[in-house]
Symmetry: C2
Subunit: 381 residues, 2 copies
């Protein structure tokens, strides 16, 4: 165990139909005017937006709508949202969507109270305040509903960078697992990969010996695998969708790393560099990067890989555990090689070059120079 | 999975020497005047109180001291604390001690803002406000440092009753595991029993099938057993004390029951009735009650008891799992029979009679009439 501070003040309201409570929650917080951020038309077609709007109306809350968030949310669209939030003098940002919508909403919440360009906060400026963020989640994956992280892509510079700040933890997040029943199986698979990756980064890169946290991680991974398998057979399996959703939240809400000391996010670092260039789903990038990284890293922490193999798959070598995870990715149709998403091996140099800057920003530049990143990516050819 | 709301806003600061941050944390919250509540002289003799006072002084915070909290905190002493808090117009209550000190501090925080007698809130009146509570924890066991519960004993009526309110979650809790190195092994054992009991109540009394939460519970139990064994061999085993402390916090911070639906606290119900009459440590009462209750309950949820046996002890029947837990209690010198704490079997009727009222208050009066409670207690003779 190492020293830590844990403070996660997000209120989670979990259950079918709970989105109708959003107006009352905003009322309780004294909010009268919000920017409602969403993505594509699915939330309109499904009737979710109507239900949310009705709840806002019942709470006498004025609402500016801002749709069109991309699955890798873009800085340009974020900047427009900031301008709108300022113009309409909103008091809060309400995100209705998946992790991308939540992340862009957090960025807008920061930009709305800043004189600087919002991108400044992604390249080093400290976030000192933000509008309160409220969320209605439609996709379980990123954990953004219960953490202080947001990732935005600057298409001009091909940088997919993040902020991490206590000021952007959502005040209230509403998790209705029924909203995820219609998530396509491909995206469900990517989400499973993403949740597993969130807990695996710390599990393998920390010092060994914090067994409590190991057990929390293993409980989350086993649940993600178990529920994903059920969902693949029966996409509207209510219990599985619900457990999957809460597991994905717990995977990145600060619980599993509390007390583990220093750790890093090498898989996310490489994947962000990759999907900043190729607009592929984050989880699809991770299912390619993760087995490759694990094969490269296994000799650096053999006891933890052996533990992973034993606890998750009931098998006895670290290498076999990696193989089992990769095979499971294959069974849920998550890509495990670059060519599966149309990236030729000749692009590895460009991705590695792009990853270098992020590795430096995340404090792991020494461990991950360009050549090492390329070496890892070659294991995914 | 069932609907739930999870909202735990307590900030945890965990690590050696962190008690020196308490002044700064109170400053950050705008507090200038506190009631410092503690128990016996150990916090004076150890120098902890001096360090806390120095931190308060550095933060220019005025402090009224109030010591003498009992290990089963008493209503009479709580009432005096309320009077002192009112007289000195304190803005917050700072608890320095174990669960008893924290619980009484929470009760004082409620009473300080109320016109009613503080006991009213323990027998049904809703808590609608309280002074902010800050804590420096010296004993890992009750989870009070990160939840909204407080238990107080009314010696006149022999009632050990509780409040549960979002208003008494501590704002900040400082957990320095080094402060627990000097906790006697007997109390460490009782604390281990308490933490295990906190997670077991929901695990066995909920409906089966919420595997994520089962895994979180099992991870906590395995950690408590593993670290307690290490501490019994080496009382100042720093890593074990630290993991034990955090496991005890997670055992009752709302994490493990979130999503499990309805469940109950029969072991705590019976134990509170017991220790309201006989002033024995809470954990010592629980190590007597729990195996007895499990032997009585095993046929009502056989699959979960089989799971418990398999996951915790690697054995294959529910009965064997109960036996293994009871034997483990014996190895750490926690009592498992009433006579070990000097309670003759002839007292069972009086305890069962006292428990009935609590069973009704906790909504399980139908399941636990007096005769059933007596039947369970006879398994501990």
């Amino acid at each position: 165990m190492f020293d830590f501070t844990f403070h996660n003040p997000t209120k989670i309201i979990f259950g079918a139909g709970k989105e109708t409570l959003i107006g009352a929650e905003l009322n309780a917080a004294g909010i009268t005017r919000v920017l409602l951020v969403y993505g594509r038309n699915s939330v309109v077609k499904s009737g979710l937006l109507d239900r949310v709007m009705a709840s806002l109306k019942a709470g006498d809350i004025t609402c500016s709508q801002y749709g069109g968030v991309d699955s890798n949310p873009l800085l340009s669209h974020t900047r427009e949202g900031v301008a709108l939030a300022k113009r309409d003098k909103v008091e809060a940002v309400l995100a209705v969507g998946g992790g991308s919508v939540l992340d862009e909403s957090k960025a807008i919440a920061v930009g709305a109270l800043a004189d600087e360009d919002v991108w400044d906060f992604f390249v080093g400026k400290e976030v000192t305040r933000a509008l309160p963020v409220f969320t209605v989640l439609t996709l379980a994956a990123t954990g953004s509903e219960m953490n202080g992280n947001a990732v935005i892509t600057n298409a001009e510079t091909r940088q997919k960078y993040n902020i991490a700040s206590p000021h952007v933890y959502p005040k209230v997040s509403i998790l209705n697992p029924e909203l995820t029943h219609s998530v396509p199986l491909s995206y469900t698979a990517y989400s499973a990969v993403d949740a597993i990756c969130h807990v695996i980064e710390g599990y393998f890169t920390k010092e060994p010996g914090t067994h409590l946290q190991d057990r929390l991680v293993e409980g989350i991974i086993k649940t993600v695998i178990e529920t994903t398998d059920l969902i693949m057979d029966e996409p509207d399996h209510a219990k599985a969708r619900a457990s999957f959703m809460w597991a994905a939240t717990l995977a990145l809400n600060g619980l599993t790393p509390a007390g583990i000391g220093e750790y890093s996010f090498p898989n996310h670092m490489i994947e962000h560099a990759l999907s900043a260039i190729y607009n592929i789903p984050h989880g699809a990038g991770l299912s390619i990067v993760m087995p490759a990284w694990m094969k490269w890293y296994v000799t650096k922490n053999p006891s933890q890989f052996a533990r992973f193999a034993r606890e998750i798959f009931g098998i006895h070598t670290g290498e076999a555990g990696i193989e089992a995870l990769e095979q499971w990715f294959v069974t849920i149709n998550a890509p495990v090689r670059l060519h599966e998403v149309g990236i030729p091996a000749t692009e590895i140099g460009a991705i590695a070059e792009n990853a270098e800057g992020l590795a430096r920003q995340w404090g792991i530049g020494d461990l991950y120079p360009r050549e090492t990143i390329a070496e890892i990516l070659r294991l995914a050819v």
